[in-house]
């Protein structure tokens, strides 16, 4: 197996040399060094590291700013912040923007190497979510549609989400917030939604708001039940559901630019329902 490739960003020649020596002594490959914002992007693109260690306090710019610039270039960049300062606010924001780890100076060599290995190691919890997450959401959708409408649901895989998905009419976007946050997209045609409303209320829908409210509620319930099931399987997921936003109109394109979505089409007696689910990898161990 080839060595993990690391790029070191620090304005201090001493700190950079110190970190580089630690990494090399531990068998990691240092593929690039940068001492400023100006050299950061160019070095990153040229040496394509697996992991970047990033000083937070630099003269003209801070590590957060550099990290933001890197994420614009590569949303999947793996960055470990290295700083003498370490407070709760900085740590929390680092997690939210997708920083992989945060280590305090003076750098403990064992900690740093362990953190880099953790960042690169498979995350069992995350892999489990990726492997089974969609199945759980399918089960939740099936349970809810079957229970509410006493009718069957079958699924066909949807491999073409790729860059974007063209809405059938109404889309509910639900945030899934937890250790690995994500999104659920539920999409159906207006006619499908109207037929479900008719089935549930035993009368024709009165207005569009009634139909939209049903889609929002359905999304909320499917996401809520699925997250409960996932939390039961492993409470460290700690997933909660944010109330959905709805989007409708003809020709709406939906995309999830920095998150891979797994998707299926649910075939129901009322019409097809598109279900997409994606989670992002959370931060690694914080030291």
């Amino acid at each position: 197996m080839s060595a993990i490739k690391v790029m070191v960003v620090d304005d201090s020649l001493f700190s950079r040399t110190f970190i580089v020596e630690i990494l090399r002594d531990s068998g990691l490959e240092v593929v690039g060094e940068a001492d400023s914002y100006d050299s950061l992007i160019e070095t990153y693109e040229r040496c394509k590291p697996d992991v970047v260690t990033m000083d937070i306090v630099m003269p003209d710019i801070d590590g957060f700013e550099c990290s933001r610039a890197l994420f614009v270039k590569d949303p999947n960049a793996k960055i470990i912040l290295v700083s003498s300062m370490k407070d709760e606010e900085s740590e929390a924001e680092a997690r939210r923007i997708g920083i992989s780890g945060y280590i305090q100076k003076p750098v403990d060599s064992d900690y740093l190497v362990q953190m880099i290995n953790n960042v690169m190691a498979p995350d069992i919890h995350y892999d489990h979510l990726l492997a089974y997450g969609l199945e759980i959401f399918k089960e939740s959708l099936t349970q809810n549609i079957s229970r509410m409408t006493k009718s069957p649901v079958s699924f066909t895989s949807y491999e073409n989400f790729g860059d974007h998905y063209l809405s059938q009419g109404i889309t509910a976007v639900t945030g899934l917030i937890g250790r690995h946050s994500g999104s659920m997209i539920l999409d159906m045609s207006m006619e499908t939604a109207e037929r479900i409303v008719e089935m549930l209320l035993k009368r024709a829908h009165r207005n569009r708001e009634e139909v939209l409210a049903m889609v929002a509620e359905l999304a909320n319930i499917i996401a809520g039940v699925a997250c409960s099931m996932l939390n039961k399987s492993d409470k460290t997921y700690s997933l909660s559901v944010s109330p959905p936003s709805l989007f409708y109109g003809t020709g709406t394109e939906i995309m999830s630019p920095n998150l891979k979505m797994d998707a299926v089409t649910a075939e129901t007696n009322f019409g097809n329902i598109f279900l997409g689910v994606g989670f992002k990898k959370g931060s690694s161990i914080w030291m």
Binding site: I177, A216, S242, I254
Partner: protein
């Protein structure tokens, strides 16, 4: 929804956007909005959950979105709102919302977290926000018009 709930977002805009290459962040109009509204162009949705929950959305027309992405990519020409441009705008939303959560901690709300962004593009789209009475803030960012919809409620 109390209009002061937008203050963390306003601070986040002025902190984060200069770091992404923008020179001027000017807040224009702040108004209340019903849950349903029309849009033309892009809408970026990011959900929040914690003591307050809901979503923050960013809207721009297509030309504005292209200019915005170009600015973020060091003035690289953006003829189409391609994968790279969409990714850049999504990252902006992610960073602004992450920083908004940090600003909320300064007023005692410390448990917020955000979802990954979802982007919608439509010529004549309509949207319904998660909270019935929400707030829209119009910004002019280096002559680019952007609307931010703050739709949050107490848990």
């Amino acid at each position: 929804m109390d209009v002061s709930i937008i203050n963390p977002l306003l601070t986040a805009f002025t902190e984060v956007l200069p770091q992404l290459g923008f020179q001027s962040v000017e807040r224009r109009k702040v108004s209340k909005i019903e849950a349903a509204f029309q849009y033309n162009g892009i809408l970026l949705n990011i959900s929040l959950f914690g003591t307050v929950k809901g979503a923050i959305l960013f809207g721009m027309d297509i030309e504005a979105a292209k200019k915005f992405a170009s600015k973020m990519m060091m003035d690289m020409p953006v003829a189409e709102l391609d994968v790279m441009a969409r990714s850049a705008i999504s990252e902006m939303g992610n960073m602004v919302c992450a920083n908004t959560c940090t600003q909320f901690t300064k007023i005692g709300i410390t448990d917020l977290d955000i979802s990954p962004p979802t982007l919608m593009i439509s010529e004549n789209g309509e949207a319904t926000l998660p909270v019935p009475k929400s707030i829209v803030v119009n910004f002019l960012i280096d002559d680019i018009e952007l609307s931010a919809y703050v739709s949050l409620m107490n848990k």
